[in-house]
């Protein structure tokens, strides 16, 4: 496998390099061809924040979070009520898998609880709401998925949020470490996974902006936000902007993620999974505006 070097990254020739080092050549070749002359795309990303959702001890106000979640899904779908919004996304016949971040800044359990309540309220039987975090058999058992990662940087992949969330569905997750994170979108296209994710809901209540490998409270902050989209690449793009801006603010100078989170751009240009171009993203904001970083 050809090495991806810093020089490739600086030259901007990464697309061809990544295609050449891809693990599934047929997919890579097709995706790269599509990426080179891809048609315009559009995506809506909703960012909802509420200053009251966390207290000084970072505890979650569940009632406030419920309101934020309702605001998020109604703005994303354009429907008037939370119940209608959830019903437009999922049917009572669906088996819905929730995929959360388990390690290094895990998804807030309060958010998972809020999602479960919303689904049940929308008529999804409780027994048809599963945890889909783990091996590939989990998503295969589902008809629909909700990706619920926490917003965080990651020392092995640069960014460890949306694109990285399904890494456990691979037989060998380590092959996506370092600059090979460029191919993480492959995991979204696996049989049993592809096309099932109807909602990406990023837990940006208290993100982690440096890579770890273990959480360091100096790099966590109360952003108090939820980010949602039907487009996983667009959701990651917005999250990456926020992480990058926070790092710049902390150091007072550019502080690039290393290794570079190639997965976001490549998910767009190589795999056609969504858009990583801010010009194609309609960012809908609601709520608290201070230090939005985007």
């Amino acid at each position: 496998m050809r090495n991806i070097t810093r020089r490739d990254f600086v030259r901007g020739t990464l697309g061809s390099v990544v295609a050449g080092s891809a693990l599934t050549p047929a997919v890579a070749a097709a995706a790269c061809q599509a990426g080179a002359q891809r048609p315009p795309r559009s995506a809506r990303v909703v960012l909802v924040r509420d200053e009251a959702v966390l207290n000084a001890a970072h505890d979650v106000d569940i009632a406030c979070l419920d309101r934020m979640l309702a605001e998020t899904v109604t703005r994303m779908t354009g429907l008037k009520t939370s119940q209608a919004a959830w019903q437009s996304l999922f049917k009572p016949t669906d088996t819905v898998g929730l995929v959360a971040t388990a390690h290094l800044n895990p998804t807030h359990p309060e958010l998972l609880g809020a999602v479960v309540r919303s689904l049940v309220d929308a008529g999804i039987p409780r027994g048809q709401i599963l945890s889909a975090q783990g091996r590939i058999d989990k998503p295969r058992a589902c008809t629909a998925l909700i990706a619920i990662p926490a917003l965080k940087a990651h020392w092995l992949t640069g960014l460890g949020t949306v694109m990285k969330l399904y890494i456990t569905y691979s037989d060998t997750p380590s092959r996506y470490h370092d600059a090979q994170n460029a191919n993480l979108a492959e995991t979204w296209l696996l049989p049993g996974v592809k096309g099932k994710t109807r909602l990406v809901l990023v837990d940006a209540l208290r993100p982690l902006c440096d890579k770890g490998p273990q959480p360091d409270p100096r790099y966590m902050w109360d952003y108090k936000g939820l980010i949602a989209s039907a487009d996983p690449v667009a959701a990651d793009t917005v999250g990456l902007r926020i992480i990058t801006a926070k790092r710049r603010a902390l150091r007072g100078e550019e502080w690039p993620l290393s290794p570079p989170p190639l997965c976001v751009q490549m998910a767009d240009e190589k795999f056609g999974l969504g858009t990583s171009r801010m010009g194609e993203i309609e960012l809908v904001r609601a709520g608290w505006t201070a230090e939005a970083l985007i």
Binding site: M1, N3, I4, T5, R6, R7, F9, V10, R11, S21, A57, H58, L98, A100, A102, H103, L104, N105, P106, T107, H108, P109, E110, L112, G113, V116, R126, G127, I129, L130, S131, Q133, G134, R135, D137, K138, H154, W155, L156, I167, T168, T172, P173, S174, H177, D178, A179, Q180, D210, K211, G212, P213, Q214, P215, D216, P217, R218, S258, P259, P260
Partner: protein
């Protein structure tokens, strides 16, 4: 630890859902607590004796011991970092207070292969407030033995590296976190920096960023400080020592160049590493005939220079001029004085 508590809460939410027949994968573990033997029963030496109680916090009787075989269960892919520094084992203790609103204090003590490895772990981030582990002493400069910030103390003491984390920072928790750090050190000194640092070239008029200096043995660690290439193009490994940092000529706010110095067990290993580096990173020089021991090449961010001297390999990257790049790799070390 707050994050562990959050993981357990995640499980509490998800377990009532259908989880039957879904065993966690071997290489990306479940969100549950690590499976580890009690420290007293595991191989690798005795557990460091820490106080049973610090302030209102009291520890469990049975600490967990994490080994290379279980570290990925404990911290997922983060285990790669510690294995890259010749990790032996990790002992984990949690102190809890009767008043849960005070939060917890998590203690992680990593037994590393050498004091250089402990230094390397701390060197991945020199941020935070320097702390002296000797209450009567002053923090070491330019490479402190301990750093504190936002409730987390990170320290090196001989061949130990440790993290002591208060889930809720307060003056009281800070006091006990520092006390635990000193108890872990227990008279051990932070130790001298790796000898390799004295061989980092510092030309006259140049300054090196000590707060950006990283000691490494693995390309994963190098890439987390400065992304060079997706694979290991420098022939790194547990028997190899490397240092990287930023350096500048003249003004402190001037253009930053990148210096990488690697020491191999043999001249042959260094020569092989230089070949793979040139093939992967400077293929234009790999095709050129002539002396392979040193050279320069224009790259996208300025100039690159390389020089092998016996078992030592020095790389200067992103340098403004060819002469400056050559000067960097040809300079001699100043026993760390320039750092």
């Amino acid at each position: 630890m707050r994050e562990v508590q959050r993981v357990l809460k995640v499980l509490a939410v998800l377990v009532p859902m259908v989880l039957v027949g879904c065993a966690p994968p071997a290489d990306e573990p479940s969100a549950g607590p690590a499976t580890a033997a009690p420290a007293s029963e595991a191989a690798g030496g005795p557990m460091i004796d820490l106080p049973k109680q610090v302030g209102p916090w009291e520890r469990a009787d049975s600490p967990k011991r994490i080994t290379a075989a279980t570290i990925f269960d404990y911290m997922n892919g983060g285990g790669e970092l510690y294995l890259a520094y010749r990790f032996n084992h990790l002992d984990v203790l949690e102190y809890k207070a009767a008043d849960a609103s005070l939060g917890t204090i998590l203690v992680e003590i990593y037994q590393m292969g050498s004091s250089d490895d402990a230094f390397g772990l701390l060197s991945t981030d020199w941020g935070g407030e320097p702390v002296a582990l000797d209450p009567a002493g002053h923090p070491q400069t330019p490479f402190p033995e301990a750093l504190y910030g936002a409730g987390l103390l990170r320290l090196r003491a001989g061949d130990l590296y440790a993290r002591v984390l208060a889930s809720l920072e307060s003056p009281g928790s800070r006091e006990q976190v520092l006390a635990l750090g000193r108890a872990i050190a227990n008279g051990r000194q932070g130790g001298a920096p790796p000898e390799l640092l004295s061989q980092v070239p510092v030309p006259a008029g140049w300054s090196l960023r000590s707060d950006r200096l990283v000691f490494f043995r693995s390309h994963l660690v190098l890439n987390s400080a400065y992304f060079l290439a997706s694979g290991d193009i420098l022939g790194l490994g547990s028997d190899v020592e490397g240092v990287t940092t930023e350096c500048r000529a003249g003004r402190a706010d001037g253009r930053a160049a990148r210096l990488i110095v690697v020491k191999y067990p043999s001249a042959d290993r260094a020569a092989a590493a230089l070949r793979t580096f040139r093939d992967a990173y400077l293929p234009e020089t790999a095709k050129a005939a002539g002396d392979e021991g040193e050279g320069t090449a224009p790259i996208e961010e300025g100039w690159a220079a390389y020089r092998r001297n016996g078992a030592m390999l020095t790389l200067a990257l992103d340098v403004a001029t060819r002469d400056a790049a050559r000067t960097l790799v040809e300079a001699r070390g100043r026993s760390g004085a320039g750092l």
